[in-house]
């Protein structure tokens, strides 16, 4: 192609690209690479910027309370006393309740979809569980207020109160709103994330593990238990932690059902408050710099905790899915 007198490239000759000097095209190339590099750098800059804003905004509260902020349980905006314990407690316990409910359900769903159900049902079942993830938080909240809470108040909580009161977790007056309700709604919201990641992990378990177990005469359940679940343990743990990360930061639905009372109570029937929901409720009407600063500090704590949880989970998931051959047709 191209003689010395006609130094066009083939692309120029067929009209795919306009003729241009190689210098101009080199500059264009560098410019383009610079632009996409800037976009990528923006991602890092945004996370840095969020952290910076949170640290700057919470400076006053950090200075005033120090570590006492995380050990004090008095939340008194009128007298300028701020302790975050009730919110940390509410966030941890509601997420824990959510995990207790969601983990067995998600594992059951993931195992059923990947190992048990007929091929024709797989697609539709995974679509339906993922649809749960597409429902906005505020709609979960709305549904919980008008459907779930009356149901819990009338039937479920009285039943729990009469049978399991000895545990100390199900005592006291029944409001409908409270820790248990928040845990249940969070559980529904994190089932799709835990089950879809678990599914991915189960699929990445090599097929010969299953065949080996079956060849030894295992029943299907034994094959799943020994050949699949045992191999996927670390990854499933990662999926659960990712679900935890989601539950910790969930805001709207929890704010609408948890009762928003900054108290530490043992009973799951009692109203509580979470870190995310106190920010959602009080931030735009916080009066005074210290109040705003205390709320931002709660946001900072939430940011740091969710980042640590997510990184930890991501590492666990990677150790399992990386490098293993994928089984066709998830």
């Amino acid at each position: 192609m191209g003689s010395a007198a006609n130094p066009q490239t083939l692309g120029e000759r067929v009209g795919l690209i306009p003729r241009r000097s190689s210098r101009a095209s080199r500059i264009a190339d560098m410019g383009f690479q610079g632009i996409v590099w800037l976009c990528a750098a923006c991602v890092i800059a945004i996370v840095g910027f969020i952290l910076l804003q949170l640290i700057k905004g919470s400076g006053l509260s950090l200075h005033q309370f120090g570590w006492k902020f995380f050990t004090g349980s008095d939340w008194d905006p009128v007298n300028g006393n701020f302790g975050a314990v009730p919110f940390i407690y509410g966030t941890l316990v509601s997420s824990l309740v959510a995990l207790v409910i969601a983990v067995p359900l998600s594992l059951g769903v993931a195992v059923f979809i990947t190992e048990m159900c007929p091929r024709s049902l797989r697609g539709i079942l995974s679509y339906l569980t993922e649809l749960l993830a597409a429902i906005p938080s505020v709609i979960y909240g709305l549904w919980a207020i008008f459907v779930l809470i009356p149901l819990l108040r009338k039937y479920v909580e009285p039943m729990l109160g009469s049978t399991l009161a000895w545990t100390g977790l199900f005592t006291g007056p029944i409001y409908g709103v409270g820790m248990l309700t928040a845990g249940i709604i969070l559980a529904i919201m994190i089932v799709p994330i835990i089950s879809s990641i678990t599914r991915e992990i189960l699929v990445s378990v090599p097929q010969n593990q299953r065949e080996a177990a079956l060849a030894l005469g295992a029943t299907r359940w034994e094959m799943i238990r020994v050949g699949v679940l045992r191999n996927a343990r670390a990854g499933i743990f990662g999926a659960i932690i990712l679900g935890l990360g989601r539950a910790l930061g969930e805001t709207m639905a929890v704010t609408m059902v948890i009762g928003n009372r900054p108290e530490v109570a043992k009973s799951l029937f009692a109203p509580a408050y979470t870190m995310a929901s106190v920010v959602a409720n009080e931030f735009s009407e916080a009066t005074g710099d210290l109040y705003t600063s205390a709320l931002i500090e709660i946001g900072l704590a939430l940011f740091i905790v969710t980042i640590i949880v997510n990184i930890f989970a991501q590492l666990l998931v990677w150790t399992v899915t990386r490098g293993t051959p994928r089984r066709a047709n998830a």
Binding site: G11, E12, I35, T129, P136, I188, G249
Partner: protein
């Protein structure tokens, strides 16, 4: 051929069947709330969906009627601003990760995108508040920025994945024709993966369109008509939240109707994406 049935212990047989039954129960328990939510949305919401809902602004407390026209338009404005920020940045960094990244910087970007994806939306709201609202006032623009930030990680990772599906032979063919790399990336690699990239954008869009928490102290909400970027603006999820926790039956009715509209928009988006991808436009790039 006669079927050989292995003899197994009775207890093992029971455990096997029990496990299957428990797994089916789990699926039923997960599908149940899904069905309940959709059924309630339709039953409670459909009666209030009339022309007024889509054309009028909210009436003051105590008056019946009124609609959410301003909230629907407001959501559109915020999402437009969000997309204007999130789509170019997301696609750009996706292109960088797939086509240019070598070594540590690419890894760092990928990792940071995952971190950003896990940041609670309310925290993003606080950060945008500190930057754009503090010292000024609540505005549609700041709400759009918050949603745009939330779109970036999803779009980045999906764009990267889709571009990686494009075979190297196509890039080599383009470069072999003497096409500059930027042109080959934009007109050939990106175009080949276009339907996949658009899918990622649509999913990110659907995801943020129901977000409420980051709008609480950025867009803030507004009971009146407004499309100005520098003023507080109504948004559908915000309005649903305010109405849902209010003590008025009339407002509850509107909250259900608004939720039905929101969920129909979201499900229609994700279903059309699913339909397009299942038709093999994306798989065709492999």
């Amino acid at each position: 051929m006669p079927e050989v049935k292995p003899r197994i212990q009775w207890s093992r047989w029971v455990a096997d069947k029990l496990a299957t039954i428990i797994a089916i129960l789990c699926v039923a328990l997960v599908i149940l709330p899904l069905a309940a939510i959709f059924i309630y949305l339709v039953i409670r919401g459909i009666g209030s969906l009339n022309l007024a809902f889509f054309t009028q602004i909210p009436k003051p407390v105590g008056e019946t009627g009124g609609g959410m026209a301003n909230a629907i338009v407001g959501s559109g404005v915020i999402l437009l601003v969000g997309s204007a920020i999130g789509v170019p940045l997301g696609v750009g960094s996706g292109i960088y990760l797939s086509e240019y990244s070598r070594g540590q910087f690419g890894k760092l970007v990928r990792f940071t995108a995952d971190v950003l994806n896990g940041v609670p939306s309310i925290v993003i709201g606080i950060a945008v508040y500190a930057l754009l609202v503090l010292g000024h006032h609540f505005s549609a623009f700041s709400g759009g920025v918050a949603l745009g930030i939330m779109m970036i990680p999803t779009i980045t990772r999906s764009t990267e994945e889709m571009l990686r599906l494009v075979p190297n032979s196509i890039r080599e063919a383009a470069l072999g024709l003497g096409i500059p790399q930027w042109r080959s990336t934009m007109s050939i690699t990106l175009r080949t993966a276009m339907s996949g990239v658009v899918t990622g954008i649509m999913l990110a869009f659907a995801r943020v369109s129901g977000e409420t928490a980051p709008l609480l102290f950025t867009a803030f909400g507004n009971p009146f008509w407004s499309t100005r970027l520098d003023q507080p603006i109504a948004a559908l999820p915000l309005q649903i939240f305010v109405y849902a926790i209010s003590p008025f039956d009339e407002w509850h009715r509107l909250a259900w109707a608004g939720s039905l509209v929101l969920i129909v928009l979201i499900v229609a988006t994700s279903a059309s994406v699913r339909w397009v991808t299942s038709r093999g436009f994306v798989a065709g790039a492999q």
